[in-house]
Each structure stands twice: as structure tokens, then as C-alpha cells.
Subunit: 220 residues, 3 copies
């Protein structure tokens, strides 16, 4: 559908992986909050499709993709059922989950930016919408579950910024002397690695000037 | 407007009843939170029209019905004024409110699913949107009022699941050997009764496996 | 674009001022919450464009203005960077901020109502959407930052009601024996002054009957 795209089959597979992992993160949060299966299903669906649905409403792709391909509803429901029975085991797989989640982040920011460009939006808007596709569902998950959005918190490792970087790169892909699919694939890999490096080395986004300094002097 | 519909006049009346009762629940929550009349009006409007507006944006019915028929704005404002003066009395009518609310739930899930089908969405999407029409406003009410969404909480009686059941039935109505209006009406009655039975007998949605078990063993 | 408009250049300048001040209020809240720069940027963008984006989705102006003119994304990012370094100083300018914010409120309710009318919405819907344009971003800011919406709280001075008044007046402008631009400008000035008077004299929206009375008797 959009020209800037990596291998379509691979993109679809990665999109489904991202959808599934985002959905699991939604239903796991519901388990931690002691919600019932309705809360698990709602949070799974919202986390998985929330960002993409808002992107599609903004660019005028109506009905949004998540309401045209029923996989985007079935996958979160399967994730809910799996989490319902196996949340104890899934919680033990936290490291694996973070890796899959990084893959979802990477593929969503690339495909979201590409779709926005394809619908005629300018580069600035496309970067904003690519980032929104990647992080919007997680923000909606946290807001619905009455938590502070995880990506705002200063102790969280870089999450949105790798998506911004990936979205910016996608905007320049058509000017690169590279096959578009390959360039998009490499961009996603770059975002994925960036996120894993941030997790591994504890890279964090900067906090406002002097708040930090003041706290540091408080500590000393 | 949509073919799968019960008696149009009756549907309209029930839609207005649902809108009114949902609006009252929004402004009552504002009273409990000690908000002023602005908070009461915003929560009344959001609860009453929130689910339907998102459904209409998703299916491409723009402007949404709530912005075309001004009744959908006047009714929440009337509910706000009534609640402003009579919240003490309305709070005493909690049982009656729950019955009217069940009627709103029933009619919104049926008419929401029917409208989505009529706009060409597939059965899975229509079920999701029918349920969203019925429960979306209440979730938005709770989020705006800084509460956990009531329908997620494990001590709440079945609310979303009767709406899901009703939406699933509506998808099959065109295949039934029954007049569509009558079938839709019966579906709404079924959802209504299901919700009242859940209230009467304390039926609850299942909680994740082993969370429950663990707590039970904790208690013993 | 819309006929009921004050001087286009002045309207654009005021829109940019409003966008900037709303964005600063978003990133300042992020600072108070100890969020990192991602939280600051997200809250800045949401506060600045949130109300207008929902208005545009509802009236069918897709992509929303904020995604067509990249200034609406750059301005919040500039506000974020400024707040990042100068939040201490900006916090000291609270009085000036409130005055600029009142200007944003005034211009957003007038231009929002005018745009809705121009897209063919009825007077009731246009008033609701004009008010939403003015106050929607602030509500979304507070919800995302895990706060109760400031405009609901009973100790807050009139904020939404001046916007409602302004939106109502705009609906009547075409019937007034006045140049439309001048009438719209006067309306915005009126809303601006109303908000400043509310701040100066502590005018508050009424609270539900008997809640207030009861508390007063509690205090005595």
C-alpha cells in the first residue's frame, strides 16, 4: 500500500509480532492491577491498535486498518487468553518480552511514518505520526489503567526517542541511493538496536535543566 | 438509516433514554468528586456521547450523529441541571438508575453494531464498535474523572460482556428467519435482562487464573 | 478559510501565541511531575493541538490543521526546549503566563466556533466544538499527566464558561449589523477580559446545590 516499505510479507509478520507483544503488555498490566478479563481484553486491544487507529483517523484512512483486517482484533484477544492462563510464566520472560516489544516499536514507527507520507502528509507530520503509531498505544494503556505514562518517567530507558530517530530516517529514505524496502528494513533494525542498547546501558532521556542539578545537590 | 433496526420511534426513544441516563451517571460522578458545574457538564456530555462519537469517527460517519442532532447535546445539559439540584434524590434512586442504565447499554450495543454493519464494516469490527458504543462513554467518564474504569474492576457485575453478546447476536440477525426490527428488539431485551440478572445474582467476569487461586489460598 | 474571522494576520499571530502558551503550560506540568524531555514534548504538543485536532476530526477537516501547517508542531517543540532550560524563570512569570493563556483561550474559542460553522455544523454543535477547541487540550494534558482536569476543580476561576459565552456570541455574529471580522475580534476581547476579571475577582463556577450548603454548615 505504501511505497516506502520493507518486504511486505516480512512487514506483515513483524506488524503481527508487534501487535501481539503490545497486546500482551496491555493484558499484563491489567493482571497487575487485578482487573478482570474485560479489563485485560480492553487494555490488550487499546495497547495494540491505539496508536495506529489515531494515525489513521488523522490521515483520513477510514475505517482504520485495525477495523479492516480482523487480525488486529483477534491477535489481542488471543494475547488476552494466553495471558489469562500464563501470566505467571510470561512475567518470568520479561527479558524476552522487552526484545519483542523493541521489535514492535521499530516496525510500528517505520510503517507508521511510511503510511503517513503515502497519504500525502508532510515530513514533520509524518514523523509525529510515526512516533505516535509506535508509542500511542502504550500511553493509552497507561492512562486507561490509571497509571502515569511509563514513557514520561525519568527512570525509564529511551523508548520514544529511538522511534523519533527511526521516523526521521524514513522521511529521508526516498532521497537515499538505496532500494526503499532495504532502507526501511535497515531503519527498523537500527531503531531495534538503539532501543536494546538503551536498555542494556541504561540510557535515559534528559530531564529539565536545574531540576536534575538541584536534586543532585540535595543528595550531596 | 441502518436496515437492521428495531421500530425507529422506539429506537429513538430508547436512545434518548440511554443518553439521559448515561449523562446523569457522568454528572453524578462529578458531584461525588466535588467538581463544579463545568465538570458536571463535561462528564455528562462525554459519558453520553463518547462511545458513539468514536464509533462514528472510525466508520467515517462524519460529523458524528451527536453533532448533527442537537438533542444529544441538550439531553446531557438537561441531565446536568437536574443533577445540579436533585443529586441527593437521584442518588437515592440508585436501583432505578441501574435499570435505566441497563436499557441504555442494551440499546447502544444493538444500534452501534447495526450502524457499523451498515457502513460496511466486517462482523468482527462491528462487534468491537457495538461494544465500544455501549461502554466507551463510561470508560472516558472514569478516565476524565481520575478514576479507574469501573468496568475493569473485579468486584463489578457483568457490564461489557452482555454488550459483547448482544453485538454478536446482531451480526447474525440478517441470517435469521425473523423480521430485522423484531430480532433487534429481542436482542436488546436479552442484553437488558442479562445485565439485570448479573446485578441480581452478582455475576462477575472471570479474573486471571492463579491470581484468584492465590488470593483464595491467602485468605484461608 | 472561514468567513467569520477577524483580521487573518492578527488571527494567525494570536493562534500562534495561544499554541505557544498552551504548549508551555503542558511542558511546565511535565517539569512539576519530574518527567523527562519526552514527557515535556508530548504534553506540550497535546495541550497545544489536542482540542483543535479533535474538532477537525469531528467536522471532517482531515488531516487536521495541526498536521498541515508544521508550525503547530514546531511551536510546541520550541516551547519544550525553552521550558527545558528556563522553567524556573517561566514559573516566576506566572501572572504573565495567565494573561497569555487567556488570550489563547479567547482566540481558540472564537476561531474554533467559526471553523465548525464554516464546515456546516449547527449552532449547538459549533458552540460545543468552539469550547472544545479552547479547553480540550488542557483536559488532555491533565489526564495524560495523571492529574484531575484543572477546569473541573471547584477552586479554579472561570475558564470554560468564558469560552462558552464567546462561542455563543460567535454563532450570532452573522446576524449582527457589524463587519464579521470586527465582531469576531470584539468577541475574543470580551472572552479575554471575562477570564481576566474571573482571575482578578476570584469568580468561580457554581457547585452542585446542597453540596456547597452542607460544607458551609460543616465549617460553621
Amino acid at each position: 500500500m505504501h511505497p516506502v516499505v520493507f518486504n511486505p510479507t516480512l512487514e506483515e509478520v513483524l506488524n503481527f509480532v508487534g501487535t501481539f507483544v503490545f497486546a500482551v503488555s496491555g493484558s499484563l498490566l491489567a493482571v497487575r492491577k487485578s482487573y478482570d478479563i474485560v479489563g485485560m481484553a480492553v487494555l490488550a486491544v487499546i495497547t495494540a491498535i491505539g496508536g495506529g487507529v489515531i494515525r489513521d483517523l488523522v490521515i483520513g484512512a477510514v475505517p482504520p486498518a485495525a477495523f479492516q483486517d480482523v487480525s488486529y482484533l483477534w491477535i489481542p484477544l488471543l494475547a488476552t487468553i494466553l495471558t489469562f492462563f500464563a501470566h505467571v510464566e510470561i512475567n518470568r520472560l520479561r527479558a524476552a518480552m522487552l526484545i519483542f516489544d523493541a521489535a514492535g516499536l521499530a516496525v510500528f514507527c517505520v510503517s507508521g511514518t511510511a503510511k503517513a507520507l503515502n497519504y500525502g502528509l508532510g515530513p514533520g507530520a509524518a514523523i509525529a505520526l510515526g512516533t505516535l503509531t509506535a508509542v500511542g498505544g502504550g500511553i493509552m494503556r497507561d492512562v486507561l489503567a490509571h497509571d502515569e505514562p511509563a514513557i514520561f518517567l525519568p527512570h525509564s530507558e529511551l523508548y520514544a526517542l529511538p522511534a523519533v530517530v527511526g521516523s526521521v530516517i524514513v522521511v529521508f529514505i526516498p532521497r537515499l541511493p538505496l532500494n526503499n524496502s532495504i532502507a526501511a528494513g535497515l531503519t527498523a533494525v537500527f531503531v531495534f538496536v538503539l532501543r536494546l542498547l538503551a536498555l542494556r546501558f541504561g540510557w535515559k532521556a534528559p530531564r529539565p535543566w536545574r531540576t536534575t542539578r538541584q536534586e543532585e545537590s540535595d543528595e550531596s
